[in-house]
């Protein structure tokens, strides 16, 4: 079970809702993924085309927890404004703090992320900051009282997988709250690896939405995350330098 704030979840896969080829594909991908937490962005509506379909409005909201993000914010104040707008919908009290500090790499701005996190915690939000894989920053966020930390595996949408497993394991080891590996996951291998490192969950979007078959990939990610978690809980064998035969050396049949 994954516990964030006062809510518990069976699924350890958090799914983003951007860039799917169609709503039908997206709906089925969400369903087969088993995800219970879906991320959304908050945007000004194109009110002169109100009939355009909206994915959120097609969901059975009793089945999902919404995790709006503050994407688009470059400062703590902008992030807080977006968070308050999202909360005013009455649909959610969680917020993913996402404050981009570099337009090319889309890496988070650590200073603004810390500031926004503090402000949002003071306002009573359930706060999940998206951070880099900086170990000290993650500790600072933990100490502030965040409800989960979400270090990136590699840049958003890059699909490059886990670039710094050592840092991520340090973050996981020291964290007192769930660690959700967010951003950069490209394939089921990456998701399983994150879970084997001991992550509590994985958040991904592009790896599913840009897959050749997003529905099949959604299932693949679900299974990879379950397998990785089971492997972590089971405790893997130690590595050694030389081979050790699996078959007994006694009772050899000689012809």
């Amino acid at each position: 079970m994954l516990t964030i704030g006062n809510k518990t979840f069976n699924s350890r896969l958090l799914l983003g809702t951007g860039k799917y080829p169609s709503f039908d594909v997206q709906k089925e991908a969400v369903q087969v993924s088993g995800s219970e937490i879906l991320t959304f962005a908050v945007r000004r509506m194109n009110i002169f085309e109100p009939s355009q379909p909206n994915f959120l409005e097609q969901l059975d909201l009793s089945k999902y927890t919404l995790l709006p993000n503050t994407a688009g914010a470059k400062t703590a104040e902008e992030a807080v404004r977006i968070a308050k707008l999202a909360k005013a919908s009455g649909l959610c009290d969680m917020i993913k703090v996402e404050i981009i500090g570099c337009d090319q790499s889309l890496l988070p701005d650590p200073v603004e992320t810390l500031r926004a996190t503090k402000m949002l915690l003071d306002e009573g939000f359930i706060v999940l900051p998206y951070t880099s894989d900086d170990v000290v920053l993650a500790r600072r966020l933990c100490e502030m009282g965040v409800h989960a930390i979400m270090p990136g595996a590699s840049p958003i949408g890059s699909g490059r997988g886990i670039l710094n497993p050592l840092n991520l394991s340090f973050i996981i080891e020291q964290s007192t709250v769930p660690v959700i590996i967010d951003a950069g996951i490209g394939s089921p291998k990456d998701a399983a690896y994150a879970m084997e490192l001991g992550a509590d969950a994985v958040l991904l979007n592009t790896a599913v939405s840009e897959a050749g078959d997003p529905i099949k990939m959604a299932l693949a990610m679900k299974l990879a995350i379950e397998a990785g978690r089971l492997g972590y809980e089971a405790g893997r064998m130690s590595e050694r330098d030389y081979a050790v035969a699996s078959s007994p050396a006694e009772g050899l049949v000689t012809i």
Binding site: R44, M45, I47, L91
Partner: protein, 68 residues
């Protein structure tokens, strides 16, 4: 009296029959949609949708879109 507001960043001439926020949402066919309304940078609670809209008010209608 003619009222011109700023609606989602655009100039918008208020139809005479629209008096408050709820009526504006109805006029824009958004009454049943999941939206959040900001008026002059203040977020409006649903029970404040009966606030009258005045000339030069700034209104933002926000919603959730796909994102990661």
């Amino acid at each position: 009296m003619k009222r011109t507001i700023e609606l989602n960043g655009n100039r918008y001439d208020m139809p005479a029959e629209v008096g408050n926020v709820q009526e504006l949402l109805g006029h824009l066919e958004l009454a049943e949609r999941i939206v959040i309304v900001e008026m002059n940078r203040d977020i409006l609670a649903k029970d404040a949708y009966d606030l009258p809209i005045n000339d030069r008010d700034q209104i933002e209608i926000i919603h959730f879109v796909g994102g990661g």
